[in-house]
């Protein structure tokens, strides 16, 4: 077993050998592992090149696409089949589905669907669009993605953000957005409802933007943030003043 | 006006001038002659401050040339070099006005005095008719007239010229040298490097001949412009006869030099 440079979760896999980066894996390093199976996420154009190269060398490569929870669960099941752990995979999916159902039930009891904006990167702002898991995470957590762009990412002007008037503002923090400013330190966005009400939070890029079981954690976390009345353990970090000190540590 | 002592000048490692001693008094009109590659242009460039002296000393008006700032030097010396190009986008008037650069301060631009000096220089160089033309559209001869005008706008105390009239036709050449003689009569010191032996002999009371980086001859035209000297210098048969109007010595080539050389 091996991992790419960027994979660090769960912590137990950091001891595994690295085969290069996710955009340009080192084919030689992959072959040196003599793998029975290579898993590759679809999406980026660059991703298909190493797949071709590995297939040419007789390596079995399974390419997955997970832009919805349904696709994510089917991926988990198929990986289960491919790795001979069908039952474990099935159990995992069942568990995840059950947790989503709980959230669904709680959310359907609430009223109000706040307009949310998910910031992928800033400055040169990129926001999550309609296609992709983030959009579904927001929807399942009882919000509405206010970015109407059908693509996965949308490059928005600040003016457009003000026009969209998001009531909740999510800033992902991680490799894509290494050091974003909290919303209350962005003077030009001071007038948007999320800034006025203080409904702005940093969230973990690994949890929201990487397909995996942790996306369900994301739904739980976001649901608690958007609808505090459902009383579920919230792990999000607020960017408002009273919690800023804790945030910096 | 000019005092050169033991001047050596190098291009890289190659020494081109090997110990030049030359004194030119205020108000002289001197022709600088010599075969190709004898160092005429190098000497003019060194006197104008464009080439540094490897050793030796150049004094201009009593001041060490090396100790002068660019601006101070430009106020003492006006120079017209051969093969100067005129860049696109400037009118002749603008180009001549640039001759006044050294006369202006860093903060003040060109003033009325400068515009007047440029206009006078254009008039004297008979380039008034070109004033509003684009400098890049001029013919070679016109460019040289304009550059002469610029040198006059810059100053008239000491004029250094390097083949400054070679691109002009015969009539313009005579006009230009008439102008130089006129300026000289008005007090300007003129040192002009040129190929044309007869033009030099016609206008310059004193000639300096360079050969292989050394001064070969230096003296009054009447004394040194002789058949024997010219034959020695140019290594070809040359006859000297008096000019039909002025009586100045004029050199005439003799056909058959090639056959004589092949011997």
């Amino acid at each position: 077993m091996a991992r790419t440079n960027a994979d660090s979760l769960p912590a137990s896999i950091t001891r595994l050998p690295v085969i290069g980066t996710h955009m340009r894996p080192n084919i030689e390093a992959v072959l040196a592992q003599r793998p029975d199976l290579v898993l590759q996420m679809a999406g980026r154009k660059e991703a298909s090149l190493p797949v071709e190269a590995l297939r040419k060398h007789g390596v079995r490569v399974a390419v997955f696409h997970a832009a919805t929870f349904a696709e994510l669960f089917s991926v988990i099941r198929r990986v289960g089949v491919l790795t001979g752990s069908t039952a474990q995979a099935e159990a995992m999916v069942r568990g995840l589905e059950a947790r989503l159902a709980v959230i669904d039930a709680r959310i359907s009891a609430t009223t109000g669907r706040p307009k949310a904006l998910f910031e992928v990167r800033s400055p040169n702002m990129l926001a999550a669009g309609q296609s992709g898991l983030v959009d579904e995470i927001i929807r399942r957590a009882g919000g509405v993605n206010c970015v109407a762009d059908a693509a996965k990412f949308s490059r928005l002007s600040e003016e457009e953000v003000i026009r969209l008037a998001p009531e909740a503002y999510l800033i992902q923090r991680g490799p894509m957005n290494p050091a974003p400013l909290p919303l209350n330190e962005r003077p030009r966005l001071r007038a948007i409802p999320a800034a006025v009400s203080g409904k702005a939070w940093f969230v973990d890029e690994q949890k929201y933007s990487r397909p995996g079981p942790r996306n369900v954690d994301a739904v739980e976390e976001l649901a608690a943030l958007l609808h505090p009345e459902i009383k579920s353990p919230a792990k999000g970090r607020a960017t408002t003043k009273h919690s800023k000190n804790k945030d910096k540590q | 006006m000019i005092r050169v002592t033991k001047l050596h000048v190098k291009y890289g490692r190659r020494e081109v001038l090997h110990g030049i001693d030359l004194t030119i008094a205020r108000g002289e009109l001197v022709g600088l002659l010599g075969p190709n590659g004898s160092g005429k242009t190098t000497l003019i460039k060194a006197l104008a401050g464009l080439l540094p002296a490897a050793s030796g000393r150049i004094e201009i008006g009593g001041a060490d040339l090396g100790g002068l700032s660019h601006r101070e030097r430009a106020l003492k010396i006006s120079c017209v070099m051969q093969r100067a190009e005129a860049p696109a986008g400037f009118s002749v008037r603008e180009l001549v006005l640039m001759g006044r650069f050294a006369h202006t301060g860093m903060l003040s631009g060109y003033g009325p005095l400068d515009y007047a000096a440029a206009a006078a220089a254009l008039k004297d160089a008979q380039a008034e008719d070109l004033a509003e033309r684009q400098a890049s559209e001029l013919s070679g001869g016109e460019v040289q007239r304009v550059l002469l005008a610029r040198a006059l706008a810059q100053g008239r105390e000491l004029l250094l010229l390097d083949e400054a009239v070679s691109a002009l036709d015969m009539a313009r050449r005579v006009e230009a040298y008439d102008l130089l003689a006129e300026l000289n009569a008005g007090g300007s010191t003129v040192l002009s490097a040129l190929h044309d032996l007869n033009l030099a002999a016609l206008y310059c009371p004193r000639l300096v001949f360079l050969k292989a980086g050394r001064i070969a001859l230096d003296g009054p035209t009447a004394e040194i412009f002789t058949e024997a000297n010219l034959k020695d210098l140019y290594e070809t048969d040359i006859r000297v006869a008096a000019h039909p109007v002025t009586g100045a010595p004029q050199a005439h080539l003799v056909p058959g030099a090639r056959a004589a050389a092949l011997g």
Partner: protein
């Protein structure tokens, strides 16, 4: 006396053409600035826009202005108008100076490696994480107590990194140019351009190296290199203005020297110019201008190339007119490029303004070149 009268008449006519052009561009800039404040995805009527602008100026008119609209019109659009105008002015002036100093019509911040240096500085900032989350207030605070810890941990040092990169690249180019400039110590223009190409090639290789080292930052670096005014505000204007003012002062002060340099080193020196020193100061001024521009906006091409070329056809090559005219027209051009960049795509999405200038400037520049060559033939 008659010649004097004719001289002054000719000069007067010449001057009138130049004054006419400059006042025309000035008026267009002013009108464009106000119009541009009314354009964008946030709906606003001209009356509302004017009202918001007037309120920002302290003029109280009848009805109060919606705070969101006020932020959009003043803090976003007006700030971008100001920054785009300044950046365009700086880039065009710098291009004009580079072309004059190098006597090369294709010289630009790019040819000299200055843009490459700035881009490299910015890439370093992005990679080490000090560059993201730019905030003017935070930046000014940080400048006060700039320590190593502050450097590593603070946000928004990207512009300073870019500026440092620009100046370092220029230093390297000048050193290389000097080393290859021959015994007289002068820099010949071919050597300088070659040195610029060497340095920018080396720097772009370094940028590629940085990108390979950290794939997650690639998109940040790429977007930054394309150039954009997205998310910029008055803090960026404040940041860039001092550098631009100093740079502009420096080159305008020496505008006449640029005329002399255009004649070539020999003639410039004969006319009393210390060509080496003059060139150095002019290049430093132009680097300040382009470094500051690149620092706040990323790499924006073609403005520095197209604007001076176009104006040379209209007002001539005399830099006392050409430099200010380039600044004014460069500002106007980039102002409208930015308006296009932020309003041409539907749904409030933005194009990098560098793409707009390249798309508009590329074909336009080809036309100019064609015209020039036909003119020479």
């Amino acid at each position: 006396m008659t010649t004097g009268a004719r001289d002054s008449r000719a000069q007067g006519r010449d001057l009138r053409t130049k004054v006419l052009w400059i006042s025309l561009i000035c008026a267009a800039s002013l009108v464009s600035g106000i119009v541009a404040c009314g354009l964008g995805s946030f709906p606003s009527t001209p009356a509302q826009t004017l009202n918001a602008l007037l309120q920002a100026l302290g003029v109280r008119s009848g009805q109060p202005v919606d705070p969101a609209l006020s932020v959009v019109v003043v803090d976003i659009r007006l700030a971008r108008v100001a920054l785009a105008w300044l950046t365009g002015a700086a880039l065009a002036t710098a291009g004009c100076v580079f072309q004059g100093v190098l006597r090369n019509p294709l010289a630009d911040a790019f040819t000299l490696g200055v843009s490459g240096g700035a881009a490299f500085g910015a890439s370093v900032a992005i990679l080490t994480g000090v560059g993201s989350g730019l905030a003017g207030g935070a930046l000014v605070d940080n400048l006060g107590g700039l320590s190593l810890g502050g450097l590593a941990g603070s946000a928004g040092l990207l512009p300073l990194f870019a500026l440092a990169g620009a100046l370092l690249a220029l230093g390297a180019v000048l050193a290389l140019g000097r080393a290859g400039g021959g015994p007289s110590g002068g820099m010949n223009r071919e050597t300088l351009v070659l040195a610029g190409i060497v340095v920018s090639t080396f720097l772009s290789a370094l940028i590629s190296l940085l990108k390979s080292l950290d794939e997650e930052s690639v998109s940040s670096i790429v977007f930054w290199i394309m150039g954009s005014f997205q998310g910029r505000g008055f803090e960026h204007v404040r940041l860039a203005l001092p550098y631009m003012a100093v740079g502009l002062g420096l080159v305008l002060w020496r505008a006449r020297e640029l005329d002399l340099l255009a004649l070539g080193e020999g003639q410039a020196r004969l006319l009393g110019l210390n060509a080496g020193r003059s060139r150095l100061w002019l290049l430093i001024g132009a680097s300040l201008l382009s470094g500051a521009a690149v620092a706040v906006s990323g790499v924006i091409g073609f403005v520095g190339l197209v604007v001076p070329h176009l104006l040379r056809l209209v007002v001539g090559a005399g830099h006392r007119t050409l430099l200010p005219a380039s600044a004014l027209l460069g500002g106007l051009l980039l102002l409208w490029s930015d308006v296009l960049a932020r309003s041409i795509l539907p749904g409030g999405a933005e194009l990098p303004v560098g793409v707009v200038t390249a798309l508009v400037g590329g074909p336009f520049f080809c036309l100019l070149l064609g015209k020039r060559f036909r003119g020479q033939a």
